[in-house]
């Protein structure tokens, strides 16, 4: 089976692809949703809360793609506003205080592009999450479920381990945006997807993705319980790896995880 990046675009866009609204009850117990950023409002595009993961209290921060129009209206199709990112930061800080690991579930085409998002500082909100997550003194595990679109995904992607579902993609810009920007032709989306190196296996080679979580059958939509079980198995193993480390060691490794990414040559320094 040779699935290309553009085939994956089709798979993650399938109507029945599970979202965090499917996964949260299947993976966590006694989940309580916590609302609001305490500054402006509550963003339905990011769902946050606390619950048990196999008996361990954890904080969950998740981007919500709706399963239908009604859910999508409430979650703005999974495209967060600044208050969503600020809620994420508030809950991450709370997790640090109560020594709970943070589990981030990423699934967004990107941060919302709109007038109000700019007025309320979309760039600043994302930047702040990236910086603060880098030094957050508790383990952070991030998993890309479907789409990991640009800075809007990275805001929840500064972590100790990044995993991706087998058909998930993670990119600097959507394939459509890439085609439109570099070739002035948005219709070349599939071609863009295939050269951009956005699949889990490509990103593993580039050192961005640490672990690929397999999907059942033809994709997660064919068996959401099985998909949730694979994710659960991964979270269990990742937490075990990270919880046994000291916090200083963990933060040093988190810094270096990103520090080493970049491809350049240097002049001989003699």
């Amino acid at each position: 089976m040779n699935v290309t990046a553009s085939d994956m675009l089709d798979i993650i866009r399938k109507k029945g692809r599970p979202t965090v609204n499917d996964y949260i009850p299947l993976i966590f117990d006694d989940f309580f949703e916590l609302h609001g950023d305490r500054l402006y409002g509550d963003d339905g595009a990011i769902k946050g809360g606390i619950g048990y993961f196999k008996g361990t209290p954890v904080t969950v921060i998740a981007q919500v793609k709706g399963r239908n129009l009604e859910e999508n209206k409430a979650s703005n199709f999974g495209m967060p506003h600044p208050e969503g990112y600020r809620k994420a930061l508030r809950l991450a800080r709370q997790a640090e205080k109560f020594k709970r690991p943070v589990i981030c579930l990423i699934d967004t085409a990107g941060a919302f592009c709109g007038v109000e998002a700019e007025q309320r500082g979309q760039g600043e909100a994302i930047a702040r999450d990236i910086m603060e997550f880098m030094t957050l003194r508790t383990p952070i595990i991030s998993i890309i479920l479907g789409e990991g679109g640009s800075g809007g995904a990275l805001a929840l992607g500064v972590c100790d381990e990044l995993a991706m579902l087998e058909n998930a993609i993670y990119s600097v810009i959507s394939p459509r945006g890439f085609a439109s920007l570099l070739w002035k032709d948005a219709s070349r989306e599939r071609e863009a997807a295939d050269i951009m190196k956005i699949t889990a296996s490509d990103l593993k080679k580039l050192g961005v993705c640490d672990c690929v979580i397999k999907e059942p059958g033809e994709g997660a939509h064919t068996d959401k319980e099985a998909a949730a079980a694979f994710i659960k198995e991964y979270i269990g193993a990742a937490l075990k790896r990270k919880l046994k480390k000291g916090l200083d060691e963990l933060l040093e490794e988190r810094y270096n995880k990103f520090r080493v990414i970049g491809e350049f040559t240097e002049a001989d320094k003699g």
């Binding site: 941060a111 592009c113 709109g114 007038v115 998002a117 700019e118 007025q119 309320r120 500082g121 979309q122 760039g123 600043e124 994302i126 930047a127 702040r128 990236i130 910086m131 603060e132 880098m134 030094t135 640009s150 800075g151 990275l154 805001a155 992607g157 500064v158 993670y170 990119s171 600097v172 810009i173 890439f178 920007l181 570099l182 002035k184 050269i195 951009m196 190196k197 956005i198 990103l203 580039l206 961005v208 810094y255 990103f258 520090r259 990414i261 970049g262 491809e263 350049f264 040559t265 240097e266 002049a267």
Partner: protein, 289 residues
């Protein structure tokens, strides 16, 4: 190519697409047309005014060299990481050739100059982005040089001043460019935790992944008048809301009004302002010597 696009290019359009296209080889421009107010002035007059629009005070783009010349103490620059060149991490067709052409044309190796210098005799690490190189998009070299500059400043207890300008992440480097946002912000976090001063000066244009990372993380954020500052592209937003946005949208003044910029400072007062701010931090991470 129509006549308007030629005119736009000659007069320094704000469109990043124009920048990617082939420019006509014209050695000197006699006229400057302000992208903000549309006023046309003689280049001589515009240049004498520090590349600031004589009508509306729009602060136009400078090269990194021009910026350093008007900002730092003469001859004080010790440049970091000269000779660092980007590879082609996702094998994007034509990326090496494009970079080489830009290196030949601009004399830059990539879109940022970093180093240690003095401003009115105060030691500081300086970062200057140059929009003349691929709209100062952030790829491996920009990310690495900025990260190293912060790491040097942290190790040597120096303040950092960053003149930002960028179209955002460098698409041609794919996901690797997105990761530079995390890498640079991580280095800012460590500098911040060490109790050291970081001043951002946002210049035209500061957008995308640079706004959504180190540019927005300064202790003090200054902007030049009338420059473009934002996260999403104007046309993307116009496409979403299906209407034209007002001219002042995503300007320095818009950002000040919404609380994301501390002050707007004229170019001719910038060096003095930076020196005063450094002095105010002398006893605590301001890099006194």
């Amino acid at each position: 190519m129509n006549v308007f696009s030629v005119v736009r290019k000659r007069w320094g359009s704000v469109s990043p697409e124009d920048n990617n296209a082939k420019k006509p080889d014209i050695p000197t421009d006699l006229l400057f047309k302000c992208p903000r107010c549309g006023t046309v002035s003689f280049s001589e007059e515009f240049n004498a005014n520090g590349k600031v629009c004589v009508n509306c005070n729009y602060h136009s783009r400078l090269t990194a060299r021009e910026r350093l010349d008007i900002t730092i103490d003469k001859g004080s620059l010790v440049e970091f990481d000269k000779g660092m060149l980007s590879k082609n991490p996702i094998n994007f067709p034509g990326y090496e050739e494009k970079q080489q052409k830009l290196r030949d044309r601009t004399g830059l190796e990539d879109a940022v100059v970093t180093g240690k210098c003095r401003i009115r005799n105060r030691e500081v690490v300086i970062i200057v982005m140059d929009s003349h190189f691929l709209m100062a998009s952030m790829g491996s070299v920009v990310g690495e040089k900025i990260t190293r500059a912060f790491e040097y400043a942290t190790a040597n207890r120096l303040p950092v001043i960053a003149f930002t300008a960028s179209g955002g992440a460098r698409m041609q480097e794919g996901i690797v460019s997105l990761m530079q946002m995390a890498k640079t912000s991580g280095a800012v976090a460590r500098h911040n935790e060490a109790g050291l001063l970081y001043i951002t000066v946002m210049t035209d244009p500061t957008t995308g992944g640079v706004t959504a990372s180190f540019a927005s993380l300064g202790d003090i954020i200054i902007a030049e008048p009338k420059v473009l500052i934002g996260f999403a592209g104007r046309r993307v937003i116009e496409g979403t809301i299906k209407q034209k946005l007002p001219d002042e949208f995503q300007s320095a003044e818009f950002m000040l009004e919404n609380g994301f910029v501390d002050m707007i400072v004229d170019r001719k007062k910038m060096r003095r302002t930076l020196a005063h701010l450094l002095a105010l931090h002398d006893s605590d991470g301001g890099g006194s010597v």
